[in-house]
Amino acid sequence: MSSKTPYRSAVIGAGKISEEHLRFLTTSPAATADAVCELSPALGEYAAEMFGVERAYTDYREMLQDRNPDVVHILTPPHTHRQLVTDCIDSGAHVIVEKPIATSNAEFHDLWSMAQSKGVALIEDHNYRFNEPVLAIEKLIEAGELGDIEEVEVRMALGIRGGGRYADANLPHPSHKLPAGVLHEFITHLTYLTLRFLPTFDRVGAAWSNHAGGELFKYDDLDALVIGGSTHARIRFSARTKPDCFCLTVRGSRGWAETDLFQPHLRVVTPRPGGEQLSPLANQLINGVALAGSSVKGFLNKVRQKTPYEGLGTFLDLAYASLDGASDPPVTFDDMDRATRLIEALLAEENQV
């Protein structure tokens, strides 16, 4: 840990995701929650009171000037990121920002250059990459259990057309105006998970659809094929398929592994002792027991109100540990650059199916 720890941190935006960030800041030895900024005075005070934050502000510029925080977490809607990130970097603060960091690759490069010139860190939240099942799949790959990766599938189903803030026609969510509409809120998760297992991409085809129609949603479905060398990836998003899921499947030359980050479990099918004849049976038995264990764990997680954001704590731990430059950040320039480039490629007209 650097001599500066605990870092004095501030949060801009006191919506639902701020709970996860503030919980980290109030429990981690690496940081203290110094201030929270929210346009609504009452909501800002609620967040400050809930997490024992010293002061709530309604004007982030005033907060930056008064508190001069070491780190700022930007948790506001995507269309506000450019201005907020710029001003926080200008104040000399390290910046951790919710996805998507920028609405284009060029915008990301501008922000990165600013951060570099000021000598501060700029890190986009790729929290699901640090969920336990994803880390377990990475370990399997590193150990050679799955062989060479040949296929990746990332599938998210979220019933956002059926109700909630994205379906609210009375006050359309600002994300409807993003290049991919409200899907832009989720597409970063899909791309960074894909790219974790598909280091390059040279061919992209994307079918964007609005199956349920209407004026509010630009798209409610994405079906995309991404190919890098001989590895194929499929990215699926549906706002209509039920129930909600966030599935990841990685297939290699020796075996495959899959998980659902909303109902965490890990299924691994690989060659087992006993050879070709007994491996299928062994896989079924081992995965059956693992699934039963996951069910119990899932129930306890539900009771304890543990959310699928479990990877956020690990991500923030690593992010704070990297701020003194002693280690690489958990999400590097390359990670953010490739994720924003893939999103652009998926949206590019020449790649539309």
Binding site: S40, A42, L43, R165, A169, N170, L171, K302, V303, R304
Partner: protein, 355 residues
């Protein structure tokens, strides 16, 4: 008077607009941009002006508020998590108050709720009135009670700071057509299966039309300035009495699962202790197993509407029996009343044209 009524298309709002028209006021009815006007019996009334806006956005609210004598603020969000309810209840109120200040409107009737009181440490069978302390730990309560308390404080603080005329009304359990079940009875498992706990607990009922009348009267009552008033009907029935009356009038059978109050208290206390000891308070349990919420719903208490009656000179127009009859009538009497008024106005207009 010219009244702005927020939440006009809601269960209570529809009746408040109707009552304001009955009392001869002009009404600007605020409804959200995408809300259908179907089902609002007064939508074509000549004294009604429909205003479209969403209070969660500050944009355009000054024009909505400008020129009215008083705002009857009913809008609130009952669904979703605490953040959704902050948006629809608290942030909406912040925006409304700012717009009123900018537009020079200096009178408001804020609709709060019985849910803001602290119930857990109150003695059984004691009197709950306007002097009863509000909840000291809103986080132990549900998002609705929490946000309604913040909303009430916002209105009172803002009005006092700016020297406005204000009245805070705290309705009890508002009931009426399609809203005959109340959480103060226990838990509704389905339309035909109810869990009832606390048979002898009185239910502070407020029939929606009686409540609407009190709200409109508060707008024009000088004596109510600065007052906080509970709104409930006379002689609150016990859970048993209300459910018996309701079951007699319903056309379908309801299976009642009865859990004695002392058993439910022990169950909730045990669940709460288990949560604190085993899960360090981090477990999520149904509301009925959280003591602060259970007591807020079903604790046996006494209630009074004395201050409301004395301040406004209000008496409830409809008895419990009449209220249930109106709520269960095949067609909504309020719809019929406004349909007849509309036909009569059209006939008069035709006659005038012919003359």
């Amino acid at each position: 008077m010219k009244l702005l009524i927020t939440g006009s298309s809601g269960f209570l709002g529809k009746h408040v607009v109707a009552e304001a028209l009955r009392q001869g006021h002009q009404v600007r009815a605020l409804v959200r941009p995408a809300t259908s006007l179907d089902g609002l019996p007064w939508r074509d009334h000549p004294q009604v002006e429909i205003a479209r806006a969403d209070l969660r956005s500050r944009s355009g609210l000054e024009e909505v508020v400008a020129g009215v004598d008083c705002v009857l603020h009913l809008a609130a969000d009952k669904g979703g998590d605490v953040y959704a309810q902050y948006g629809g209840t608290v942030i909406a109120t912040e925006h409304l108050l700012e717009a009123m200040e900018a537009a020079g409107v200096r009178s408001i009737v804020g609709i709060s709720s019985f849910s803001i009181y602290g119930y857990l440490h109150k003695r059984s069978f004691s009197l709950l009135d306007e002097e009863t302390p509000v909840e000291s730990d809103p986080r132990e309560r549900d998002a609705y009670g929490h946000t309604k308390l913040v909303q009430e404080n916002l209105i009172r603080d803002f009005a006092q700071k700016h020297g406005w005329r204000f009245v805070i009304l705290r309705p009890g359990a508002i009931f009426g057509r399609d809203n005959l079940w109340t959480a103060r009875l226990g838990m509704q498992l389905s339309d035909t299966r109810w869990v009832r706990t606390g048979a002898w607990a009185r239910v502070p009922l407020s029939y929606v039309e009686n409540c609407a009348e009190a709200i409109v009267m508060a707008a024009a009552c000088d004596a109510a300035d600065g007052a906080t008033l509970n709104v409930l009907d006379d002689n609150p029935p016990t859970q048993s009495q209300y459910i018996s009356a309701l079951r007699r009038k319903l056309d379908h059978r309801v299976q009642l699962i009865r859990i004695p109050w002392f058993v439910m208290r022990i169950l909730a206390r045990s669940a709460w202790l288990t949560n604190k000891i085993v899960f360090r308070g981090g477990a999520k349990t149904p509301s009925i197993f959280v003591p602060a919420r259970l007591h807020a719903r079903c604790k046996p208490l006494r209630y009074s509407n004395r201050r409301l009656r004395e301040t406004l000179g209000w008496t409830p127009r409809w008895s419990l029996d009449e209220a249930l009859d109106r709520s269960l009538a095949p067609t909504d009497p309020v719809d019929g009343e406004f349909a007849r008024a509309s036909e009569s106005a059209q006939a008069q207009s035709k006659a005038e044209l012919a003359a």
